[in-house]
Amino acid sequence: MTIAATTQAGSTPQQREHATTIFEKGSPGRRAFRAPALDVPPVDGLIPQGLRRADPPRLPEASEPEIVRHYVNLSKRNFDLDSGFYPLGSCTMKHNPRLHERVAALSGHARLHPLQSPRRAQGALELMYNLQESLAEIAGLPHVSLQPSAGSHGELAGVLLTRAYHADRGEQRTKVLTPDSAHGTNPATVTMAGYEVVKVALDAAGGVDLDDLRAKTDENVACLMLTNPSTLGIFDPNVEEMARVVHEVGATLYYDGANLNAIMGYSRPGDMGFDIVHFNLHKTFTQPHGGGGPGAGPIAVSDRIEPYLPRPQVVRRPPWAPNGAPASSEGEANGRLVGGPPVYDLDEERGGRDSKSIGKLRGFQGNYGVFVRTYAYIRSLGAEGLKDVSEVAVLNANYVLARLRAEVGDKLPLAFGERCMHEFVLSGAPMKKELGIRTLDLAKRLLDHGMHPPTVYFPLVVDEALLVEPTETETRATLDAFVDAIVSILAEAEENPQIARNAPYGTPVRRLDEAGAAKRPRVRQTL
């Protein structure tokens, strides 16, 4: 009876709602936007015959209330960081302070045109200049370009810088070394930059195998791309020797900064001998991940790489005197420009034909809105706070690791070593063997516990990998709940592995046919 009722009742509205797109809502003639009245004398034929569009794009026809309700309900079909634990390894899903959204929305930042005269964008340029300086100090490398749009974009910049550096010396190198544990963007970047990928093996401890590195390092090697701590959550103890080996053949050492959040205040890529570093501002310095961006991937480089940096860069100049004359205060939008001796400017020259710069990686100056948030974060935390970030990130990760090793270490052993930095990798191989559930099943079952699963099946070097990054903003209570959930799922599987194999149950949809989706791709709606 009650079952019947429950069934007939269906579950919550969000679950019962069948997915209908905005194109399936609305009705012909409905609209939200009302154009301003045409206030100029209309003229016909402004677009030559044949160039005018005959059949306008079939965009939705919906009222504002329909649009709001559609997307609000869609949003409820997402799991998000504000709602629960999100230990997605390597992605650093830490709390997003809402102060950042508030300051980024200030019209002086949000409605500033990228080509506004530097004389009327002093606030933005000062912010970018200060951010360049801060990132240089954090990286331990003197020169920064804020331009790259994300980490992988920064990687591309870095490898192209390496190419420019060698080309400038008349060298034609062909290979780039990446460890087996490297993130997919590293090899993908190497290919796009026109190099051949050479994999370097790992040693028993999960670090780079020095012998293999030495064996593969020769004059054709342009660069070694390294993530340290690695995607295994291990700080490579041989980093100094690796730097020596690589520099010996004149190659550059590239630091993938995705895991920089583990070592702030303890060590810096520059101090380790790296030539080029990219930051994932959206990870280390928190940024709402937006369902897959936006982010930003600034790079910091050593002196020898500096001449090749992308342009423009923000520079600080002696007080501005346009055409020798001080700008009239009226013209200065309420004296904004007459304030303050140091004046900030965009240095475009180096972008000119004759320069050594690799040029532009994108339009304008980069993801400024992301810079605003990062700057606010660095100002909020300060030197101490940033160190605290790394300490607690590492503390939280080791706490979760310690509990898991003690309670389910036999089923989900740590891939390498005993401890970790800010994240760690477990292998689900024994679990699969003994309980008959895969890492994927464990992940799906976690969804029923209201948690986002860790990264799965990465890094590739670990069988049935589970990459866990709790981050520093989670409480002990949350960490404990996560461990408890995993323990209970394994216990449940001992009883009945089917439950995990068929999980999840309580989500808006259940497991989806991905193979079918790829076989007959439907990537747009037919209207």
Binding site: A32, L99, L106, S149, G293, N323, S380, A383, L512, E514
Partner: protein, 468 residues
């Protein structure tokens, strides 16, 4: 401890005991002495929220934004009105704070948004397939050239001088990595010179890159250019302004193989240049070599409709060095803003706004050209943007004129000479639905005065700038 962490002394004790170490520092033992910083990071101490807010506000106040002046500055990003619904939806935790939808069961919101976005972009461009966005406009052009290289293995790209200077520069930077050479095709009377194109074309050309409307605001005959390119088996890459595609023929209907563009004008803020998003659409046969995320429709275990990231074998996390692109984190949130904006604009709105810009651009062009010392740079049909010539002394003169206009609270546009030596005296003026006839008349008034003043000053041999 400071900031957003929350380890109490009691937590710390318990956690260290569980781990089996005596201090947090111990957890960093793996870091060799030789690479340790050994001193505090040299940054100012942290500040409470109210102080950081005050500081960021101080900086904001030192910028003259589109809210502070009447701006006709465009050249790639435009001051369109961002409807409040876009902000409201982009700031929903559920859209703002998750990451890439790796777990589709709990990411249907984001995945369906991608699917709707892809449908909208496909409709706009007239091309069957779209990805879920790339970084932004110019790098999208670069990505398109890579797709062309993968498609036909050719190593030469022809790019029209009508393409945005930033797109051309980005293309050149990235082409070095592709092993592709980039040659420019000049303009004739403000549009891509068909003769020059035909001359430059040969069977080693991987793709041609054009822009609609081009940087000078003029409408290109895309179909004709495409035909020429196709004769040599080259792909046609067109960078388009999405807000003009309600009135301009769809690139996909004009033989374009890959249509990309800057998405900022679709419900995204100016943000001093980013973050925005780049759109990327192509013909069916390029689907499996597209860069970036693509959402696809499918069904779940209970037969319910659902969406997933599909064709991931293209991507770096699966295919690694064989991936069709290295892109990972992209611009999902900005693309959400884009599709919400397009839904808000709607099927009729996209035409209305295009028509409004078309008419106002014409009016503004005629009005400015009627001023003393101002003349049309060309007579071609234009939409949303146009160029005039100022009878002043080169770029410096034009920039002084811009300063004078700024004094009058008007941003008159972009000094064309900054990227086109041949148009040192050019001024590029952009029109949006936010620039009323009244604003345009005000521009004419201020610009007319500024030009006159500049010519007087120059005549007086002074050229002394705005102070005069």
């Amino acid at each position: 401890m400071a900031g957003y962490t929350s380890v109490t002394p009691e937590d710390l004790e318990h956690m260290l005991a569980t781990i089996g170490v005596g201090s947090v520092e111990e957890l960093f033992d793996a870091i060799p002495a030789g690479v340790r910083l050994g001193r505090p990071i040299d940054l100012p101490p942290g500040e409470p929220e109210q102080a950081v807010y005050a500081e960021l506000r101080r900086l904001a106040a030192r910028n003259v934004s589109a809210e502070d002046e009447i701006t006709f500055l465009g050249a790639g990003m435009y001051d369109h009105y961002v409807p409040a619904v876009v902000d409201m939806l982009m700031s929903r935790s559920e859209f703002l704070t998750p990451y890439t939808p790796y777990q589709p069961e709990v990411s249907q919101g984001g995945l369906q948004v991608m699917f709707e976005y892809q449908t909208a972009i496909s409709e706009l461009t007239g091309l069957p397939v779209s990805n879920a966005s790339v970084y932004e406009g110019p790098s999208a052009v670069g990505a398109a050239a890579y797709l062309a290289k993968l498609a036909n293995k050719r190593t030469r790209v022809l790019v029209s001088r009508g393409v945005h200077p930033h797109s051309r520069a980005t293309l050149e930077t990235l082409a070095v990595g592709y092993g592709t050479s980039v040659d420019e095709v000049g303009l004739d009377d403000a549009v891509t010179d068909p003769a020059a194109l035909r001359k430059a074309l040969s069977d080693d050309v991987s793709a041609i890159v054009i822009q609609q409307p081009n940087f000078l605001g003029s409408i290109e005959d895309v179909a004709a250019l495409s035909e020429a390119a196709h004769e040599h088996g080259a792909l046609v890459i067109c960078a388009a302004d999405p807000l003009t595609l309600g009135v301009l023929e769809a690139p996909g209907h004009q033989g374009v193989d890959v249509c990309v563009g800057e998405g900022q004008s679709l419900g995204n803020r100016l943000d001093f240049g980013g973050p925005s998003f780049g759109f990327f659409a192509a013909t069916e046969k390029h689907l499996r070599s597209m860069p970036g995320r693509i959402a696809g429709e499918t069904t779940d275990a209970d037969g319910r409709r659902g969406f997933v990231l599909t064709l991931q074998t293209r991507e770096q996390h699966i295919r690694r060095e064989k991936a069709t692109s290295n892109i990972c984190t992209s611009q999902a949130l900005n693309a959400l803003g884009g599709v919400v904006y397009l839904s808000w604009l709607g099927r009729h709105g996209i035409v209305d706004i295009g028509e409004l810009m078309l008419q106002r651009t014409h009016y503004a062009r005629e009005t400015l050209a009627a001023l003393d010392g101002v003349s049309k740079l060309h007579d071609r049909p234009v939409v949303r943007e146009f160029a005039v010539k100022l009878d002043v002394d080169g770029v410096a003169g034009v920039e002084r004129v811009l300063d004078r206009c700024a004094v009058g609270g008007v941003n008159a546009g972009y000094a064309l000479g900054r990227s086109y030596e041949e148009h040192a005296d050019g001024l590029l003026v952009a029109i949006t639905e936010q620039r009323s006839r009244e604003d345009i008349d005000r521009l004419a008034e201020v610009l007319g005065t500024a030009v006159a003043a500049e010519r007087a000053a120059a005549g007086a041999g002074a050229g002394a700038g705005v102070a005069s």
